[in-house]
């Protein structure tokens, strides 16, 4: 869209609008209500619902405003008898086959068709013919389908194609018999549920929330998702202390993700009220004994005594403090403060899959938000698999290419699904991502890198040409495959590629909702990493205070490390491999029960709001930390308010300077933290280290040629996703049940034989 302004007259009033603006958007911005079903911003145009009709002077018939681009001098009428008649006729047609039994429909109360029928529907139905009734059925364990309610706006099919790139759901049949469905009647997709979200009627429904509650009974709280680093804004619907559902519907929440969520964010929330949640603090009075429920006072005293004893016997550095990248900034800050100011230990970390500290220490440019990705002109993706691990980033990339004409260069050892959209795909040998970074950083290494990666040198030259020919934003994204040194190189790349009219932006792809926050709060800058800390257990580390749990990847091969500790304090939601050795376990509150902030991979710091009161006797993580420190004789002075903790973060951490909760109130205008950038610096040491490593790589590695199946990461069972029964069906290969009329949960028993490989961990 250009910045040139043109004149448009709407209902007798003149407006200056940007040239190329869509008429329906302009009318709505100016406050003229135009009804529509099929129009959905940033999706392909459909113009099938015929609700957005307007009269444009000098055009013979009523026009669909969703397909009209404003031109200079256009004279538009949006309200007249003629238009209303047409719109009323359209609703009458839509209702001809639509059952009028809203009270039994899950969408009742928040249904766009229902609302439209109130405004544009006629009181009496003139159709006496039989309705085209079809039975309800299930399209997958997640998606319930009531085909007769469909008005064929095809939002679901467009979302599936354009957002997810899966084409799993399409319109079959013809004319009056058209139905939304899929080949074989069973959806084998990533089960994101976006088709459910955008459906303006009750055709596609959340099978996990089927007949559970009515929307008006639910208290909708806007919060940030607890799964991946995209930080999607979602609205959690709760009733009487129980989380019933999660939606991103724009009537409740309007975050940077729009109505996009993935299967984890939307459906895997059942862990919050799961009955296996820890109920009370527990103490293991004797090593090898049982965990015995205790009061909070008793457990806090026991924990502090244990930590004190370890510090006295082996010194402050023998105590390790471990956070989790899933916790809020407030909790992580409290832990860091506990470690450095109270205990005075150098051993603190967060249990992340990889550390972003080298990246942030060398940062030489801006972090790309997800909006920047959507409007980028060139995207370079090194490693990573956003469509599985950061689904919203994956969607933004897909749309940038499809709708924004961006060039996408993928450098990956696996032919990931996103490669369908790629302009250039560099299929490299496994574990040679560093070589790619080296070559992008310095062309002198092209020959070596190409040889080790198993690609042609010309491919690297083309890649560089793509970047240097870009007018607009270049976004460089990278996954956890790149080494610490390569992260430093990447962080400095803006100095190489920034120029008049071109910005090089960076976007890391960490795995957890607050991986960036954990780095910002300083937890990732401790002396030891998570695995090193486990190795040091019983040696230089004698006591540990862990919020959350170690990841399976940390614990493999070190299963008994935690047992070597003299004393272990854990705060967790569930009993895990880490609590198995704990001397004291505190029940912690999940994201739905906590107030705080998460910082996403785009550097946006977004609010987490308390949706329900803490389940059982759990407390928020930072409250537990503050309680422990008070018992140890230091009052953090947080006064039981998360905003006070955040206030201190804003004072102490430069990137968060000046921020307060009221400034983060509006999820439509998320705030990006100001990560400090450093001057361009000499990286010869790092590139030399990488070069030396690259030279040792094999010349004759075998490439991975199979594209991994949809959901191979999304459907992995972790501590949290484990609590959603439907997830187990999906993880077991999504078997088609004998009948589609009954929920597959009641038909299929998951047994060991069905389990896919690579299950476990998250």
């Amino acid at each position: 869209m250009s910045t040139e302004l043109i004149k448009v007259t709407i209902n007798g009033k003149e407006f200056q609008v940007a040239k190329g603006a869509r008429l329906i958007d302009v009318c709505r911005e100016q406050g003229f209500n135009i009804p529509s079903f099929c129009y959905y911003a940033d999706l392909a145009l459909q113009a099938s619902c015929r609700m957005c009709l307007v009269r444009i002077e000098k055009m013979p018939k009523l026009q669909t405003s969703c397909t009209i681009t404003c031109t200079d001098g256009m004279v538009v009428t949006t309200e007249s008898e003629e238009i209303e008649k047409a719109q009323r006729a359209m609703v009458e047609f839509l209702l001809a086959n639509h059952p009028l039994d809203c009270p039994i429909c899950d969408r009742g109360g928040e249904c766009e068709l229902q609302e439209m029928a109130f405004d544009w529907g006629n009181l009496e139905e003139r159709f006496t013919e039989r309705k085209n009734a079809q039975p309800e059925k299930y399209l997958s364990p997640i998606v319930a389908n009531d085909p007769q309610r469909c008005i064929l706006c095809k939002r679901c099919t467009r979302v599936c194609d354009e957002w997810m790139g899966e084409d799993a759901i399409e319109a079959g049949g013809r004319g009056a018999n058209t139905v939304i469905g899929t080949f074989g009647g069973w959806l084998n997709c990533s089960e994101c549920g976006n088709c459910i979200e955008v459906c303006p009627t009750g055709t596609l429904l959340d099978a996990t929330y089927r007949h559970q509650a009515r929307p008006w009974e639910l208290q909708q709280t806007v919060t940030t998702c607890t799964y991946c680093s995209d930080g999607c804004q979602e609205s959690v619907g709760s009733r009487a202390g129980e989380v019933m559902r999660v939606v991103a519907r724009d009537r409740y929440v309007n975050g940077h993700n729009g109505e996009f969520l993935c299967i984890k964010g939307r459906f895997a929330h059942t862990f919050i009220n799961d009955e296996t949640r820890l109920r009370t603090p527990m103490i293991r009075y004797k090593k090898g004994g049982k965990l015995i429920p205790a009061t909070w006072d008793e457990a806090v005293k026991f924990a502090t005594r244990g930590l004190d004893k370890a510090a006295e016997a082996h010194g402050a550095n023998s105590i390790a403090v471990v956070g989790s990248p899933r916790l809020t900034n407030e909790s992580l800050y409290a832990l860091k403060k506990f470690a450095t100011e109270l205990v005075g230990t150098e051993n603190y970390t967060a249990t992340d899959a990889f550390s972003l500290s080298p990246f942030f220490q060398n940062l030489g440019g801006q972090i790309a938000t997800h909006r920047d990705i959507r409007h980028a002109k060139t995207i370079v993706l090194i490693g990573g698999e956003p469509e599985e691990l950061q689904p919203f980033a994956g969607k933004q990339i897909r749309q940038a290419v499809r709708n924004g004409g961006a060039k996408l260069v993928i450098i990956n050892s696996t032919p990931i699904r996103l490669k369908e959209r790629a302009t250039q795909f560099l299929h490299i040998n496994p574990e040679t991502e560093d070589a790619a970074v080296l070559a992008i950083f310095n062309q002198a290494h092209n020959e070596l890198a190409a040889r080790k990666m198993g690609v042609q040198e010309t491919e690297l030259i083309e890649l560089r040409r793509t970047i240097t020919n870009t007018e607009g934003d270049v976004v460089i994204m990278f996954g956890g495959e790149v080494s610490a040194e390569a992260q430093s190189l990447l962080a400095q790349m803006p100095y190489l590629f920034n120029k008049e009219g071109r910005r090089a932006l960076l976007h890391p792809l960490p795995l957890y909702n607050n991986s960036v926050g954990a780095t910002d709060m300083g937890l990732m800058y401790g002396k030891l990493g998570a695995t090193e800390m486990l190795d040091a257990a019983g040696d230089s580390v004698h006591a540990m205070y862990v919020a959350g749990s170690f990841l399976p990847q940390h614990l493999t091969g070190r299963e008994d490390s935690l047992g070597k500790l003299d004393f272990l304090v854990v705060q967790e939601l569930f009993e895990t491999e880490t609590t198995r050795f704990a001397d004291v376990v505190f029940p912690a509150a999940s994201f739905a029960e906590a107030d705080g902030t998460f910082t996403n991979s785009g550097g946006l710091v977004q609010r987490v709001r308390q949706t329900i009161p803490p389940v059982n006797q759990s407390k928020q993580d930072w409250v537990i930390t503050a309680q422990l420190s008070k018992e140890l004789g230091v009052d953090f002075g947080f006064q039981m308010s998360a905003s006070a903790v955040f206030g201190e973060i804003a004072e102490r951490i430069p990137a968060y300077a000046g921020l307060r909760y009221p400034l983060l109130k509006d999820e439509t205008n998320p705030v990006q933290v100001k990560h400090a950038t450093i001057e361009q610096r000499d990286l010869s040491q790092e590139s030399e280290a990488i070069r030396a490593r690259v030279e040792k790589m094999s010349d004759t590695a075998t490439k991975i040629n199979a594209t991994p199946p949809v959901g191979h990461e999304l459907f992995k069972i972790g501590t949290l996703t484990d609590k959603l029964p439907q997830m187990h069906l999906l993880a077991s290969g999504n078997p088609k049940p004998p009948t589609l009329a009954v929920s597959p949960l009641y038909q299929i028993t998951v047994d060991a034989g069905m389990k896919r490989e690579a299950i476990g961990g998250d």
Binding site: P135, G181, K736
Partner: protein, 186 residues
């Protein structure tokens, strides 16, 4: 969608398709390649390729769909979408003689409804079904562009025009006796 889903009769196709067809005979593969070469975008060849697969396999069966999706670089749902749109593409097995009666306006006015009823009664099946002996399938299709000679029907690709009940009987009799000869090659 032609099949109606009922609880006791789940859709026959499996969502996960067997990659049963690696390729057809060299002659057919050459034909497919020729069609693919005609279009700048591969998936444009979806209709001619569907006809070929249908001709080779009798109907567009799940392995055929998988084969097409693979050849055209699209997803199985896209094939399903197109296949269910066209009445010329059969997603279920059809009988030896596929009687397709036009049901669009001109034919309808000229009595296509009666012709369909007559056929249904004679064959003992409803439109969309196949006789038990596998000889006849009956279906109603959209305009075949022969309005001047309505009502009309199509068997295979043969047109039978200006129909009456007697004329239909004559044609069906010759089919039953095995004397019917196609004049149009598919």
């Amino acid at each position: 969608m032609s099949e109606q889903f009922t609880p006791n009769n789940p859709l026959p196709q499996e969502a996960k398709l067997p990659a049963e067809i690696a390729s057809f005979s060299p002659a057919v593969e050459a034909e497919i390649d020729a069609h693919l070469a005609k279009y700048p975008v591969k998936r444009s060849a979806i209709l001619p390729l569907m006809f070929i697969v249908q001709r080779e396999r009798g109907y567009l069966d799940p392995p055929g769909v998988a084969y097409l999706a693979d050849r055209l670089g699209v997803r199985i749902t896209d094939i399903w979408e197109v296949a269910t749109f066209y009445s010329m593409i059969n997603t279920k097995p059809v009988g030896k003689y596929h009687v397709q009666i036009c049901r669009t306006l001109s034919c309808k006015i000229m009595g296509a409804g009666k012709i369909t009823e007559h056929c249904a009664k004679r064959l003992g099946i409803k439109p969309g079904e196949t006789t038990e002996d596998g000889m006849f399938s009956l279906s109603e299709v959209e305009c075949l562009g022969s309005c001047g000679t309505a009502p009309m029907m199509q068997i295979g690709f043969d047109y039978h025009e200006n129909l009456s009940a007697e004329k239909v009987d004559e044609i069906l009799d010759s089919c039953s006796r095995g004397e019917y000869r196609y004049s149009m090659k598919s």
